[in-house]
């Protein structure tokens, strides 16, 4: 209660023994429209102020770490989809690059650039939903519905490449299962052309809106030291002023070939998180443009490359399996688990929508990982929630939750 003294001083002072001094327990969740996912918060409330918050998670725990111990590498990709389902291609490619690191596969540049395009599209989709949902929780529903059509366009691009939209299972170890069709590039051009206008419109609705600013500025702030201590990564850490970005610190998929900046905030509150995500979307757009240009520069046979030449791990084309002996042998070996797996342990991480998404893979030479641990950024930074909302109003507690971009699938693995 001592934390509340300063807050209370500003309000009505109740006499000792007043019945109104008692606190109330409030269950926020597990299924509540304001929680954006299946997780529960048991808030201890003093009037409208939060005294303490106890988070309960695990409602959609699906034992991915256990499941991964019984699956060959290529069958783990669809599990990763279901972690951060707002940006599943990043998870997929994070896992594929982990495997490639273990297997020492070098992917061709064109594959890297195509992956960068898809991952940055996924980042935009992720941040777009998060930012517009912060708007919803501040009372502006329109923006959320308006930008949905651009997420839809991103999903159509995924669909033209891999056939699915939300849980994408995009790509394979070594590259993609097929080359990008022309329609994917047409849609990408349409997106690059139309999306900046829509993003500007969303920003003109929220960024300088007095209501939105008053709701978010100073809500759920965190200092850089506390954020680092709590293991924050991604936009939430950068909003607190630390310029840590996995794409810059340990580049994967040729991110070192691109020119982009890492936006940072200062106070780590909801408004800074909003601004950082917004600036990251502009950076992502710039990266996509650069990558698309690099992809167009490939000529001749190079322009047809969409996977690394690794027959041991990359399934051959189906028509080749029916007509060519060698392809049939490789197909059989991969499916039946006859491939020699290297023994070793590897940690690899990518910059996911929420921060550093890491994979710690131990291989004992068997067909499945001996152990696979996922570092899920959401799970780690959600611990700080109580500290962020202590002493705040109930409505702030809701907006802090959405601006942290908590994804239940990622948290519960």
């Amino acid at each position: 209660m001592s934390e509340l003294v300063s807050a209370k001083d500003k309000h009505i002072v109740l006499p000792d023994g007043s019945i109104e001094k008692q606190t109330t327990t409030l269950n926020l969740g597990p299924t509540h429209p304001a929680t954006h996912g299946v997780f529960q918060n048991i808030l201890e409330m003093d009037g409208e102020r939060v005294v303490s918050a106890k988070q309960t998670i695990g409602y959609i725990h699906r034992a991915y770490e256990k499941l991964s111990e019984r699956r060959p590498l290529y069958q783990i990709t669809p599990l990763t989809d279901r972690m951060n389902y707002c940006s599943s291609p990043i998870n997929n490619m994070g896992w594929e690059t982990t495997c490639e690191k273990l297997l020492k596969i070098k992917t061709p540049k064109r594959v890297d650039y195509l992956r960068v395009i898809i991952m940055e599209l996924a980042r935009i989709a992720d941040h777009l939903i998060c930012n517009s949902v912060v708007g919803v929780d501040a009372g502006a529903f329109t923006g959320f519905l308006y930008v949905m059509q651009y997420r839809e366009l991103i999903y159509e691009i995924y669909e033209s490449i891999c056939g699915s939209r939300l849980t994408t299972n995009i790509g394979r170890i070594g590259g993609f299962e097929r080359n990008f069709p022309n329609v994917a590039f047409e849609k990408l051009e349409k997106f690059l052309d139309e999306y900046p206008k829509a993003l500007n419109e969303l920003n003109s609705l929220l960024m300088r809106s007095r209501i939105f600013m008053e709701r978010t500025i100073g809500a759920g702030p965190i200092s850089a030291e506390r954020a680092l201590n709590y293991g924050f990564t991604g936009p939430n850490l950068r909003a607190a002023g630390v310029d840590y970005d996995v794409r810059v610190h340990s580049p994967y998929c040729s991110y070192e070939d691109f020119d982009f900046s890492v936006p940072v905030g200062t106070t780590g509150d909801c408004y800074d998180r909003y601004l950082v995500r917004d600036q990251e979307m502009w950076q992502s757009l710039s990266i996509i443009k650069q990558a698309y240009q690099k992809v167009q520069e490939f000529k001749g046979t190079e322009a047809e490359v969409y996977h690394a030449d690794v027959p041991e791990y990359y399934l051959p084309k189906k028509e080749d399996v029916y007509t060519k002996m060698e392809a049939l042998i490789w197909h059989f070996k991969i499916i039946m688990g006859e491939i020699e797996m290297p023994v070793g342990e590897v940690y690899h991480s990518v910059e996911g929508g929420n921060g550093e998404l890491g994979f710690y893979l131990i291989s004992d030479g068997g067909r499945t990982p001996y152990r696979l641990h996922y570092r899920r950024p959401c799970f780690i930074y959600y611990q700080a929630y109580e500290e962020l909302v202590k002493g705040a109003m109930l409505s702030d507690a809701v907006i802090v939750m959405s601006s942290l971009n908590l994804i239940a699938g990622e948290m519960d693995s």
């Binding site: 695990g58 690191k101 273990l102 630390v242 610190h249 940690y347 890491g358 710690y360 570092r375 780690i380």
Partner: protein
């Protein structure tokens, strides 16, 4: 001068002598082993030292090696020095009958839930942890599911018999409660042996 793996190794040996051992660098990440009583001391040194500054806990997890008697559980810590951008990993091996280790929550708040998760799935007992209860599984659960003796699928099913996909098949591993006296790994092994004979 940027920090290198060699320099970290040098500093650690200078401070702890032979207690830190098994240095290697798989895929470029410096990996070493510390005795289980030393985990917090080593972490504190890595955190406080002005040159090392490993002040960011990337992740921690456990691994179960049932065949390695007396050191069945490995705690694996991944630390990151954000200033010099270098990562390290260190391990501490525990006896599954007495899986006690010091908590890292005093140094890193991030360790709180990660340790609860590790307790939840492996039963590692973190000494000094403020709230060591299950986090992802139900509170009533009385075993630690990520240990190797628990097969993936429901063993009462007779319609699936596929050794290759880890379904146990005809061997039919049962679930033994963690409260049993003998270690789970050993009692499971006996069961399997009986049935094979």
């Amino acid at each position: 001068m940027a920090l290198t793996n060699e320099r970290i190794k040098e500093k650690l040996i200078e401070k702890f002598g032979e207690q830190v051992s098994n240095f290697e660098a798989p895929y470029g990440m410096l990996t070493f082993e510390v005795p289980k009583e030393m985990n917090l001391k080593v972490m504190q040194f890595l955190y406080d030292d002005e040159e090392l500054k490993f002040q960011f806990l990337t992740t921690l997890c456990a691994v179960h090696y049932p065949d390695d008697k007396g050191r069945e559980l490995a705690m694996v810590y991944h630390l990151h020095n954000l200033t010099d951008n270098i990562r390290i990993r260190f391990k501490a091996y525990l006896d599954i009958n007495k899986p006690d280790i010091f908590t890292a929550t005093k140094l890193y708040e991030a360790a709180n839930w990660l340790e609860r998760e590790t307790y939840d799935f492996f039963g590692v007992n973190f000494i000094g942890h403020p709230n060591l209860v299950r986090i992802l599984n139900v509170d009533e659960m009385d075993y630690f599911p990520l240990r190797k003796e628990y097969p993936l699928e429901d063993q009462t099913r007779k319609d699936k018999d596929d050794e290759m996909f880890g379904r146990g098949g005809s061997l039919g591993y049962g679930t033994v409660k963690a409260s049993d006296d003998t270690t789970i790994a050993e009692s499971e092994k006996d069961n399997v042996g009986d049935k094979l004979i």
